[in-house]
């Protein structure tokens, strides 16, 4: 038996669930096919940073619009996803770095946006008393913050379900067949048909695209995280750094969660990723350099998540260039969690109206056409 739907979403990460929610709210019959379980991959295990700060200029407009969804997450999905607007801070350790931040703030302002602000060393120490004494200043965004990634993703899934979407877990997509008026999606357990298929398959989105006949020059990122035992509260905002790969935040439980993009090893076939200690040590070193107080904190666990990366490190959010009815949303290159809620709206626009007024022009799928042909 073939199950019929108005739209099929491949991938039950935040992007898949967010798209499914928006489509369901517009009255479409939506089926989400998730090979493992909702939030199993990047969306459930990322650093939870909800950050407009320091993004690629091409992403800034969408990201800033996307912030509104986080501040009203309860209205949208019935749970705040653990979001707290604790602010994000990007620390400069030298005056050169600080000058770089000033320049960046100007560039953002010239786009007509005021959210990024540069602060001096004194204000930095007021906001982040535990910061190493040599730090000279920082860029801050007050409305930014952090959320609980698994909880937020689960909340989108639950809300999508209650809006009528069907989320089938344990169903991996193994084939796509073009048929008159749409696509036959072949799963490990069943078959599904719809006029539109949304490719939100995260690290595996390139493979999904291939099934539809699209080739993109993607790499796989395997970003690592580590977490400490519970500590007394000592840092409020999420802290990043200009000169080091670092994201540093303390959870409500008191554990300190450290990331920043140091790479482990990914195995797409086994759907696993492995920590690399030498690289993990660099994360620890970065954290200890900015927060000397945590040198003695005990690391309890580390982990590694996988995701697709594009050559220019900004995503693809677009119709397929050659396969009508396929909508791609992937390639977030290490920072797509914050974009999840707003991207659902953009994808729903693409599906139901063919286009969107949201600023997604830079994320065209065609920009890699030349590269793909050359490859």
């Amino acid at each position: 038996m073939i199950r019929e739907a108005d739209a099929i979403v491949v991938g039950g990460g935040l992007h898949g669930c967010s798209a499914a929610l928006q489509l369901a709210l517009r009255g479409l019959r939506v089926v989400v096919l998730e090979r493992r379980h909702v939030g199993r991959h990047a969306s459930g295990i990322n650093a939870g940073g909800v950050r407009t700060l320091g993004r690629d200029l091409a992403e800034v407009p969408l990201s800033v619009l996307g912030m509104a969804y986080w501040h009203r997450l309860s209205e949208l999905v019935g749970d705040d996803g653990g979001f707290t607007p604790c602010g994000q801070v990007k620390v400069a350790e030298t005056h050169d770095e600080l000058a770089g931040l000033e320049k960046r703030a100007l560039a953002v302002r010239s786009l007509g946006m005021e959210h990024e602000r540069v602060i001096d060393g004194d204000e930095l120490r007021r906001r982040v008393p535990a910061i190493a004494s040599h730090c000279v200043g920082a860029m801050v965004v007050d409305g930014d913050g952090a959320a609980d990634p698994y909880r937020a993703t689960s909340a989108f899934a639950a809300r999508a379900r209650s809006a009528g979407a069907q989320i089938l877990e344990g169903e991996g997509v193994v084939g796509l067949e073009r048929q008159p008026g749409g696509w036959l999606v072949v799963g490990e357990r069943g078959r599904y048909r719809a006029p539109v298929v949304v490719n939100a398959a995260g690290a595996w989105a390139g493979r999904m695209a291939s099934l539809a006949g699209d080739e993109f020059p993607l790499k796989t990122r395997a970003s690592m995280m580590l977490v400490t035992e519970r500590m007394p509260p000592f840092v409020e905002p999420v802290v990043g750094s200009v000169g080091r790969a670092l994201s540093f935040k303390q959870s409500s439980a008191g554990t300190v969660i450290i990331g920043g993009g140091q790479q482990g090893r990914a195995d797409l076939d086994r759907e696993q990723a492995w920590v690399n200690v030498a690289n993990l040590a660099r994360s620890a070193r970065a954290a200890a350099a900015l927060f000397p107080v945590i040198r003695q904190a005990r690391i309890v666990r580390s982990w590694c998540g996988i995701e697709a990366e594009t050559p220019d490190r900004i995503p693809i959010i677009d119709h397929s260039p050659r396969a009508p009815g396929i909508v791609h949303v992937f390639g977030f290159s290490g920072h797509g969690f914050q974009l999840g809620p707003v991207c659902g709206v953009a994808v729903a626009d693409l599906v139901t109206r063919g286009s969107t007024t949201l600023p997604i022009a830079p994320f065209s799928a065609r920009r890699f056409a030349a590269a793909a042909k050359a490859a």
């Binding site: 030498a278 620890a284 954290a287 309890v300």
Partner: protein, 466 residues
């Protein structure tokens, strides 16, 4: 930061690791042995040299003193010993990271043998987090290392050979045991009949068990059989112990309660490495998949002893030797034919010492209520998560331990899921009507033990030239 690469790095200095190291040296391999204890010996032969020097070893039994020979042979074999070194990560290809508590070092091996032994099965009962409730193994460690013995009012509850062995050991050393609450529900005569062949071949072990019982009877240690629903009660500390037997609730004052329901393979390391594991229904635990020489499905990684499958000390020793043969052959130091020739007699020994295993597994299989405790019992001691919360997570759609962990924080504390992992798997399997194999286990990630952040950072300092 790295020492020279060894042909074989052995992690764990119990009978398996010690025998492997000596055997590998005999075959000409360069060997390093890493153990987190200050001295080699493992669980069974813990502190055997100290006990011997202090004149306490003989009282601990002939079996215990057997370890002395193993340890001495090891000291003479020419392997490099990294004592008081905890291995916290093994990377495929043979990179072992270990800490001495102050700094970490990288020890590289062309082959790595994981011989980290067993851990006691968690015993989630009401009140097991109260101070004064400990495992039998813990009390035994205190006895072996420093001669500490229980005083008045200490109860033992549980089953398995170790409970009797320990009680007899304590009585012989002049300590006190208030009573033994025997939770074994396998019936001795029937079980023995079912495993008659094994019982006959393993008669030495049976005779030893009967000896313990006789000693306990002579010392007038109270034994209650058919015990269920053991509970520890008290304010801030265990003060009373309560149980049911023959349908009756009973209660007694207690100054301490020692729990034991057998041991399970310590699989954190092989799981973190990514070795394939299978559920062993007879022993109710996961164990790494290996060939006869302990080779796992991950290149260069071997397993021996109780962390591969519970077999006891003598079997562990044999498995250690087999793994050394496997490692040597895979390195091309001996031929496959030579390996098989040397393995023959060792494998015969394994089957002789292992004869009783099926009988023991059956007789001492943990009771269902211990694997799948009632809702109000604390399962994850670190994060304070009850069995009820795990079931609730299952009813909300969690299909495996890792989802439960994301959902509830169960398994996220410093013990990294060692104390709750088996219970979470069993509880979920029961709630979902799935097998433990289908439900799976927590994903284990380094560091295997909590590690000072500065210590990890130091590995990069070295690289940055500081």
């Amino acid at each position: 930061m790295s020492d020279r690469p060894f042909d074989l790095v052995v992690i764990g200095g119990g009978p398996a690791g010690l025998a492997a190291a000596s055997q590998a040296r005999q075959l000409g391999l360069s060997v390093a042995l890493v153990d987190e204890q200050p001295a080699p010996g493992g669980q069974i032969y813990r502190a055997v040299e100290r006990a011997e020097a202090e004149g306490r070893a003989t009282a601990l039994g002939e079996d215990y003193r057997h370890g002395l020979g193993l340890v001495r042979a090891f000291h003479e074999c020419g392997a490099t010993l990294f004592a008081s070194h905890q291995a916290w990560q093994v990377e495929p290809g043979g990179r072992v990271f270990a800490t001495d508590g102050k700094a970490s070092r990288l020890i590289e091996g062309r082959r790595v043998l994981v011989a980290v032994g067993a851990i006691e099965r968690p015993v989630p009962i009401r009140g097991w987090t109260l101070p004064g409730v400990m495992s039998v193994g813990a009390a035994q460690i205190l006895h072996k290392t420093i001669g500490l013995v229980p005083d008045a009012g200490v109860w033992i509850a549980g089953s398995g050979p170790l409970t009797l062995h320990f009680a007899a050991e304590i009585v012989a050393a002049g300590g006190r045991i208030a009573g033994i609450l025997d939770t074994a529900h396998g019936r001795l005569p029937e079980t023995a009949l079912r495993h008659l062949g094994g019982v006959v071949r393993g008669w030495r072990y049976v005779a030893r068990g009967l000896g313990y019982l006789a000693r306990l009877r002579m010392a007038d240690v109270r034994r209650v059989s058919g015990v269920e629903n053991v509970e520890a009660l008290g304010e801030g500390r265990v003060e009373r112990v309560r149980w049911r037997s023959g349908g009756q609730w009973q209660e007694a004052p207690a100054s301490g309660l020692l729990l034991h329901e057998g041991v399970v393979p310590n699989t954190h390391m092989t799981m973190a490495i990514g070795c394939a594991h299978d559920w062993d229904e007879a022993q109710k635990c996961f164990r790494p998949r290996t060939d006869r020489f302990g080779m796992t499905d991950v290149e260069a990684i071997l397993v021996a002893g109780d962390c591969g499958s519970i077999g006891g000390a003598r079997v562990a020793e044999c498995r250690g030797r087999l793994a050394a043969l496997g490692a040597a052959a895979s390195l091309g130091v001996i031929s496959a034919a030579e390996r098989d020739r040397l393995a023959g007699p060792v494998e015969a020994e394994v089957s002789a010492h292992g004869a009783l295993r099926g009988f023991l597994d059956d007789l001492y299989a943990p009771a269902a209520e211990l694997c799948v405790p009632p809702d109000d019992v604390m399962v994850c001691r670190c994060e304070g998560i009850t069995a009820g919360r795990i079931r609730e997570a299952a009813s909300l759609g969690c299909r495996g331990p890792n989802q439960v962990k994301s959902f509830t924080r169960c398994g996220m504390g410093p013990c990294q899921g060692r104390m709750c992992g088996p219970t979470v798997t069993a509880t979920l399997a029961a709630a979902l009507g799935m097998t433990p194999q289908e439900v799976g286990a927590f994903r284990i990630r380094p560091p295997l033990k909590p590690l000072r952040l500065g210590e990890l950072a130091a590995l990069a300092d070295a690289e940055a030239g500081e």
